[in-house]
Symmetry: C2
Subunit: 140 residues, 2 copies
């Protein structure tokens, strides 16, 4: 896992500690292809025989978000999900039946739209959230 050591080196060089929790959590995010909730993350830590308090999990997520190592996404479930922030800008397609999540990369994306928003409303877009909900192949 080349990327893990890179991330850790980077954090260390910025003066942050490489705790067991931090290494485990970044490792899990790197391996997961789908966004994880705080709970799912904690369960995965447990599955790996590493017990961490939920406060620590939330604090670590918050830290990693601040460091731009993970990004927040949400599917309107009443909770937040997080995914590693290394991959290209993409969106999600979420099956409303089996809840499977997949990534989708849209070419050209929304840059034109964001330009129009600025022309129209003088509103400077810095970020957007876009998720698609529907039925996957199996569930149609």
């Amino acid at each position: 896992m080349v990327e893990l050591t890179q991330i850790l080196q980077n954090l260390k060089s910025r003066g942050y500690r490489l705790t067991k929790t931090r290494k485990q959590i970044i490792g899990i995010f790197l391996e997961s292809r789908v966004p994880l909730s705080a709970q799912e993350l904690r369960l995965e830590l447990q599955r790996r025989n590493y017990q961490v308090d939920k406060a620590t999990v939330y604090r670590e997520i918050s830290f990693l978000k601040g460091q731009k190592i993970v990004r927040e996404v949400q599917f309107g479930e009443g909770k937040k999900r997080f995914e590693i922030n290394l991959t290209d800008h993409h969106h999600h397609i979420v099956c409303i039946r089996c809840e499977k999540v997949d990534d989708i990369v849209l070419e050209n994306d929304l840059r034109d739209q964001e330009k129009k928003i600025f022309e129209l409303k003088k509103f400077k877009v810095l970020n957007h959230s876009l998720e698609f909900f529907g039925l996957c192949t199996k569930c149609q």
Copy 2:
């Protein structure tokens, strides 16, 4: 308020009761140009000297959502917001500093993208959520 009586008539014809709570809440949604959280809705009811239990507020929102009278939107605050579902399909631009919310209508929208998603992944998009975050004119 023509639309209010229309909505109420429609509900009544479908066999639902026109309770004081229901009338008040639909009225508030019709008057509010911004999506409301359950709490804000309840506070607005209180402001109008009408005290309602939070369980009732949640149940009524759930009912109105089921009736397609309101729709759910979210700005990643860890809570859900709701807005009246009469207006054309639109999205939101949310200022990350002053939190002001405005509507934006995108011509052509994401139909092309959704078509591409089906071609690419055989995933049938039924719905999407798209919000823009950035700085409004005042806050830039």
